[in-house]
Amino acid sequence: MENILKLVTENQQMIYIVILMVFLGIEVIGRVPSVLHTPLMSGANAIHGVVIIGAIIVMGKASTDNYLALVLGFLAVVLGTLNVVGGFVVTDRMLEMFKKKK
């Protein structure tokens, strides 16, 4: 119990960020017209691709003789990049079509 309470204090910055981001996320999306739901979902999908940063850190820290970490880390970098690049390109493609006419 004490340990868990201590965790809260130790991570209070992070916890504050979480709380603020939860409200911000809801606030930002709350005003989206339904027409933009698909691009929005896709854009949000690309943004959580920020997980790639974790993959890069894992990869960059792995010692050169730890093949398990190297292989898993490499896979993580590839998949994370797919998520980021694919996500943004798909979203851009959708939005490009919205813009053409007017």
């Binding site: 339904s34 691009p39 943004i47 959580h48 960059g60 993580a76 998520n83 493609r93």
Partner: protein, 476 residues
């Protein structure tokens, strides 16, 4: 100095994510918003590669691996995203989402391997070597990422027809048991303190994958958008776990932002169908209700219309509404549809589109599809506005939509879709329904609209039917 620049890069990244999401909510700024977020992401990625330092002040190495991974991922990602057809967009999003989930799970796996090695060296108790908070984020990232990956793959397979719905009695109880099992194994990994802790962890991940599959399998294909949106927010949370792991604020910001926004989007989608998230996940749709709710009472009395008559009706109408649905997407008929619209407008007919929020396989699916065919943005009416205009409409042409125009949602309390807001097309003077057959729609329920006196059926593939219509209208 180096770390300060990294911090600034991360702050820029976080701000662009928030700005990007905000701008995505405005049709005119959306594209820019997406590019801004992408720019912020690029800055954050390269800052990490070159400026990141571990606790003991070491920079990152293995650049060859990192860059080849980035290049391979970028090439495949760009090609896949550029090549995908507009109709297959939801699948693509699901696929990319799954990749993100897998990435989060892999990161957790490597981090676990890391702490496991420390524990083996120390051979103390696992709990003494690894702080609980650290283990908790590792295992949460692994479980959530794994569920998201497996679930997204199933959702992807369902949307492109490779995976069929699969249900059995007591499935939800089995799923709950599987979930409980994951929690128990994850706990055992931490506290059991054996030398095979790594096997326990492996079992945790594998069960998470199984759970992801079982979680999505029973949910009907029509509900996949909701599921994808939910899994999208899962991946967001999994990414945020990585943020906790490395005390990395940009991962935390991005992940939680998407987690929160994705959850809200999921709830908004459910609301549009007037169902609770619970109801979607427990998914009674199309299985139990098919037989109930008095579907057969009017069956058999639909009437067909010939292409010539339909062409005649439409060319002499004042106002025509087109209601697109998944049938239009499947037939890739959006361009033909736009052609029909232009042709009718030349004849002085007012043509508009009525877009139901959940038409197609994803909210906004129809908008994207019609935008691809250059249909003007202001011709697309959202449900409420369209419902106000149906009274003054002469012809409503329904292209492969079904459940979103089913009056049972308004009149029949026993119907599973009762209470879902629908497009009230029956207020128009005539309704022409284009469908491939009399088969019920995705929700598996009969549609009384098809048997009403003012409704006539125009059977056939949407594209073929539209082409014939166009040819006939040119002759009128």
């Amino acid at each position: 100095m180096q770390l300060d620049i990294l911090t600034i890069a991360y702050i820029i990244g976080s701000v662009t994510f928030i700005l990007g999401l905000k701008m995505l909510s405005n049709p005119l700024a959306a594209r820019k918003g997406n590019l801004i977020a992408a720019g912020g992401m690029t800055i954050a990625i390269f800052a990490t590669i070159f400026l990141y330092q571990t606790e003991d002040g070491q920079g990152l190495h293995n650049y060859a691996w990192i860059f080849s991974g980035l290049i391979i991922g970028s090439i495949i990602g760009t090609l896949a995203a550029k090549k995908v057809k507009m109709t297959a967009m939801p699948e693509m999003v699901s696929m990319f989402n799954g990749m993100g989930g897998a990435c989060a799970a892999l990161i957790s796996a490597v981090e676990f391997d890391h702490v496991y090695r420390e524990f083996r060296l120390d051979s103390n108790s696992f709990a003494a070597v690894v702080p609980f908070g650290h283990y908790f984020t590792i295992s949460a990232g692994a479980i959530i990422g794994g569920v998201s990956f497996a679930g997204s793959m199933i959702a992807w397979g369902k949307l492109n027809g490779r995976v069929k719905d699969f249900t059995f009695n007591g499935q939800h109880i089995v799923n709950l048991l599987v979930f409980g099992f994951i929690v128990v194994v994850a706990g055992l990994t931490y506290w059991s303190n054996t030398s095979v802790t790594n096997i326990w962890f492996l079992i945790t991940i594998l069960t998470a994958l199984v759970y992801g599959v079982m979680f999505v399998l029973p949910i009907g294909g029509a509900d996949m958008p909701v599921v994808i949106s939910l899994l999208n927010s899962f991946t967001g949370v999994a990414a945020a776990c990585g943020g906790f792991l490395y005390n990395n604020k940009v991962m935390l910001t991005g992940g939680i932002l998407v987690g929160a926004a994705g959850t809200l989007l999921t709830i908004l989608m459910c609301k549009a169908m007037n169902r609770s998230l619970m109801n979607v996940l427990v998914g009674s749709f199309g299985t139990k209700h098919t037989a109930s709710g008095g579907p057969a009472k009017q069956a058999g009395n639909h009437k067909e219309i010939t292409v010539t008559d339909a062409a005649m009706l439409m060319s002499y109408a004042k106002k025509v509404f087109i209601v697109p649905g998944y049938g239009l997407a499947v037939a890739q008929a959006q361009h033909t549809c736009h052609e029909l619209e232009k042709l009718l407008e030349e004849k002085g007919v007012e043509v508009k589109y009525a877009i139901h929020p959940v038409a197609g396989r994803m909210p906004g699916h129809m908008n994207v599809l019609l935008a691809e065919a250059d249909v003007s943005y202001d011709k697309l009416l959202e449900m409420e506005n369209a419902n106000d205009e149906f009274k003054s409409t002469d012809v409503v042409l329904i292209l492969g939509a079904n459940d979103v125009v089913n009056p049972a949602a308004k009149n029949d309390p026993s119907s599973p879709i009762y209470g879902m807001p629908i497009l009230e097309v029956e207020q128009a003077k005539t309704v022409i329904v284009n469908k491939r057959s009399m088969k019920p729609g995705y929700a598996g329920i009969e549609n009384d609209l098809f048997y009403q006196p003012k409704t006539s059926m125009l059977f056939g593939d949407a594209k073929a039917a539209l082409q014939k219509l166009i040819a006939e209208i040119k002759n009128v």
